[in-house]
């Protein structure tokens, strides 16, 4: 029987916040969502949440041997560059790009979240950890997106664009470290 376990919930909750590639992507995505107006914001956020669950499912059933960290950082870079460009989000093609970035981010964050399974405590660790990870991802995105929404029009959106450039730099910085890491 599955019972709530704060140990595994918290371990899952802190996972996206303690993983540099996840954190950079979450901050970037939060700012990108915050740059958009109400209806787009909610639609993209909901799609992102569904994509995270889809990522968990893919990770559970398929043993993908991708370089997840590299893909996450490349997506983070694209997301942050979108923040810097601050495109008019009303044209269809811009909406489509944002939508794809949200879905790709959610799926990759889900795929890169491998839950802890301790033999004997299997189901309990697995589900509590996943629940914690999902909550961590959702809460971080919602908080960052809501804060960014407050600054959306401030100084004609310059603050968020500057933030976007810092996120792009961080993503490039970690990507560089990843590339120079001896194999």
């Amino acid at each position: 029987m599955i019972a709530f376990s704060s140990t595994w919930f918290l371990d899952g909750f802190t996972h996206p916040l303690e993983t540099p590639s996840h954190l950079i992507l979450l901050v970037g995505l939060g700012v990108l969502l915050g740059q958009q107006s109400g209806a787009y914001f909610i639609r993209n956020l909901l799609l992102f949440c569904v994509a995270v669950i889809a990522g968990f499912t893919i990770n559970n059933y398929l043993s993908l041997r991708w370089n997840n960290e590299l893909i996450l950082l490349v997506i983070a870079l694209l997301v942050s560059l979108s923040v810097v460009l601050r495109l008019d989000y009303r044209p269809l093609w811009v909406q489509l790009i944002t939508l794809l970035l949200c879905i790709a981010s959610g799926i990759m964050l889900g795929i890169d979240s491998s839950p802890i399974v301790i033999p004997g405590l299997g189901e309990n660790t697995f589900y509590n950890w996943l629940l914690g990870a999902a909550m961590g991802v959702y809460l971080a995105t919602i908080v960052i997106a809501s804060m960014s929404a407050l600054f959306r029009t401030l100084f004609q959106g310059i603050i968020l664009r500057v933030l976007g450039s810092w996120i792009a730099t961080s993503a490039l910085f970690v990507l560089t470290l990843l590339m120079v890491k001896p194999s």
Partner: protein, 183 residues
């Protein structure tokens, strides 16, 4: 230039620290080779002493020792038994865990089980390697010393055992090389 190198070093330190935030635990292992009358290897009997943290979590899960033992055996089956046997570089196919039991040793839990080979194997004149890896990258299994491997009467005079720690091992990789070379 020095500042950039310093910054990169500091950054990599930060990433290493964060990567280690994932839940880890240690298992101290012993192994005994089992043979049939034809002097073929038939199974490896393993004994794993879990560290205090995980032992505590297992005990506090409220399950009886029998339930826990059954759960450990069941979960291990889904996790490739944390064990890969290779013979002359080729993977040895193993069956389901048998004769398992979980006992309390002071305040730690020891799980003992037999890992049978699908078909008996002549190891004379060749090398058998044992690697223990957790796909979830939480457990690290150590022998520490070759004395923790028992060759048994059949292989005692024929084989030499060797345990060596692997330097710079990544999370989720086997921390030691376990080699049994037979003449």
């Amino acid at each position: 230039m020095k500042k950039i190198i310093g910054l990169l070093a500091l950054g990599s330190l930060f990433i290493t620290t964060l990567s280690d935030a994932h839940f880890h635990y240690k298992i101290n292992a012993t192994a005994t080779l089992q043979a049939n009358a034809k002097k073929q290897l038939t199974a490896v009997k393993l004994s794993w002493l879990h560290d205090k943290t995980v032992s505590d979590l297992m005990i506090k899960s409220g399950q009886s020792m029998d339930q826990l033992a059954k759960g450990v055996a069941g979960d291990l089956a889904d996790l490739d038994n944390f064990t890969q046997l290779t013979f002359n570089g080729k993977r040895v196919v193993t069956g389901h865990v048998t004769q398992y039991q979980l006992v309390k040793v002071k305040d730690q839990l020891k799980f003992s089980f037999t890992l049978p080979l699908k078909s008996p194997l002549f190891i004379q004149g060749h090398t058998l390697r044992i690697a223990h890896t957790d796909p979830g990258a939480s457990a690290s299994i150590f022998y520490h010393h070759a004395n923790n491997i028992t060759l048994g009467n059949t292989f005692k005079s024929l084989c030499k055992k060797h345990v060596e720690a692997i330097q710079g091992v990544e999370v989720g990789e086997a921390p030691e090389t376990i080699q049994i070379s037979c003449k």
